[in-house]
């Protein structure tokens, strides 16, 4: 089963979301300057006028561009929800979050010291629908030619009173950070050979989080660093039987969310890695971008940071329950996938649940009355039974 570690699944009390201490690791930074990568030509983005309602909406403020609004849940209970962008009920606005792709290169301790280098997937990632535009139509409604995350946010609020079709939340053209090379100590990671001659890496999550902890200070709170690996996932002690977390998003805690740092880790999954290819290329990144947009402060304070909703059963997990607004988790067992073509390449994206799915809104204020982007969900979540 594929699991993402930042989920707040409740078994007995709140799960802690924290960055573990730094484990021994050797790293080398090839270059201290960030570089813009060369992208293939963009298609025209059908965006409306750029309207800025407050200084934070362009991602130039001290913190992440987000809004907090009370949404009605069960029994008309108002739940405060933090979402990246501006409040869609206030109409047209375009938010652009500065984004940095950070390639992670791992040298594994196995015989021959296999290397899996995230640098190899940066161009494919930057040319994917995460950053490039494609046309999204849901339930017969054209959401526009735009990025995946923007299509999701537009669809999510499409029928919300005050919503404008000139509302957008975009990731900026990604800067690319220097490759971070990490030599994995024995016992904390392994590379497993695949049939087609490549490798599949598994890293201990505590070790991996220690690596990220050393890198976060290079980024400001208003930008989104995305740590990319090539076929490297997480599993306790780097063991295959403990596999796999293929991505997560998180944030710093302990301070106000207005200045909290947020980040994403995602593995670019190569074809032939997982039997049946249920997860491919930027699919895990699409999952994480969608969740980061809709629950950006998942690592912050439980009250006021994490977007808490009525506890719900996660479909396909045998009854596991979750208590926070994570758009992708409810559609990953098994993953509900669709494709988009950008720059002539077909990419795999995951369907994502809309906010009304978690609020039990009826009817849904999302596009076509749907409860997920491509309509997999036609009704709201199942509550996690008492007890």
């Amino acid at each position: 089963m594929l699991l993402n570690p930042r989920k707040l699944r409740l078994v007995a009390g709140f799960a802690a979301v924290a960055i573990p201490g730094f484990a021994q690791v050797s790293m080398e930074l090839a270059n201290s300057a960030r570089t813009k990568i060369s992208l293939k030509p963009n298609r025209a983005v059908g965006l409306g006028p750029r309207l800025v309602s407050h200084s934070n909406s362009t991602g130039t403020g001290p913190g992440l561009a987000f809004f907090t609004a009370d949404f009605l849940s069960l029994g008309s209970k108002e739940l405060p929800i933090n979402i990246v962008g501006t409040n869609p009920s206030l109409g047209a606005n375009t938010t652009v979050v500065p984004t940095v792709l950070v390639p992670l290169k791992f040298i594994f301790p196995n015989p021959g010291h296999p290397v899996l280098d995230g640098t190899n997937v940066i161009e494919a990632t930057a040319n994917s629908p995460i950053f490039q535009v494609a046309d999204y139509t849901t339930g017969g409604v054209d959401l526009g030619v735009t990025q995946f995350g923007d299509a999701l946010q537009r669809g999510e609020f499409w029928n919300l009173p005050g919503f404008s079709t000139n509302y957008h939340v975009l990731l900026g053209t990604p800067a690319v950070a220097p490759t971070v090379t990490v030599t994995v100590p024995a016992g904390l990671g392994n590379a497993f050979p695949l049939l087609h001659g490549s490798f599949f890496g598994v890293l201990d999550p505590t070790f991996f989080n220690g690596v990220l902890a050393t890198l976060l200070s290079s980024y400001t709170a208003n930008e989104l660093p995305i740590f990319m690996t090539d076929n490297v996932v997480l599993g306790v002690q780097g063991q295959l039987q403990n596999c796999c977390a293929i991505g997560f998003h998180s944030s710093t805690g302990g301070g106000p969310i207005a200045t909290a740092q947020t980040w994403i880790y995602a593995s670019f999954i190569q074809p032939g890695t997982i039997v049946g290819d249920p997860i491919l290329d930027v699919q895990s990144l699409s999952h994480e971008v969608a969740e980061w947009l809709n629950d950006p402060f998942v690592g912050g304070p439980v009250i006021g940071g994490v977007n808490l909703v009525a506890p719900f059963v996660v479909p396909g997990t045998g009854g596991l329950c979750q208590i926070n607004f994570e758009t992708g988790d409810v559609l990953e067992a098994p993953p509900v996938v669709f494709t988009q073509v950008t720059n002539g390449t077909t990419y795999h994206l995951q369907d994502e649940a809309f906010l009304p799915y978690f609020l039990h809104s009826a009817p849904s204020f999302s596009v076509a009355g749907f409860y997920s982007l491509i309509g997999t969900f036609q009704t709201f979540s199942t509550l996690c039974g008492p007890g």
Partner: protein, 166 residues
């Protein structure tokens, strides 16, 4: 530790806003996977779990006999949903009346009272099984209705100095 503090503060803040039946508090008797719940006592669960109601029906499904309520005193997400660690088992045959159906949680489950007076249910989300002590009032009535005539006959016989019974 951080989470513990958050919980403690919330409990202190929210307990005053939640109305519980007037009864002595009691820590639930729980082991790793099962909690034993007595009737008519405010139960403090040793963990935070999913709020909601378990509506217990009479064995013949004719009526509601008990309601096991886990309050959303830690996190209120509306309509009786959320998280809590305070519970109460209301019984139709006890001094505390059943809660009004209009107050039932949107998050409810239905169970049927066991013939032995114990009703069990579990939630795969928490992995906890609850054993509700819900003695069947019908059984008690039947027992009393049998014992009273027997006692009365024994008393009459004892007056006649026939002391073989009882």
């Amino acid at each position: 530790m951080k989470n513990f503090l958050v919980k403690s503060v919330l409990v202190l803040t929210l307990l005053g806003a939640v109305t519980f039946p007037c009864a002595a508090d009691e820590l639930a008797a729980c082991n790793a996977s099962t909690c034993f719940i007595p009737e008519n006592v405010v139960i403090i669960l040793p963990f935070i779990t999913f709020a909601g109601d378990v509506i217990v029906l009479e064995p013949d499904l004719s009526a509601i006999s008990d309601v096991f309520r886990i309050f959303n005193n830690i996190l209120d997400t509306g309509a009786g949903t959320g998280l809590g660690d305070v519970a109460f088992l209301y019984s139709a045959d006890d001094s505390t009346p059943l809660p009004d159906p209009s107050t039932f949680s949107a998050n409810f489950a239905v169970a049927v009272e066991g013939a032995d007076g114990i009703t069990t249910f579990s939630n795969s989300g928490s992995g906890i099984t609850y054993s509700l002590n819900t003695p069947e009032p019908g059984s008690l009535v039947l027992l009393v209705s049998c014992l009273v005539p027997i006692g009365w006959r024994c008393r009459r016989r004892s007056r006649r100095q026939e002391v073989r019974c009882c």
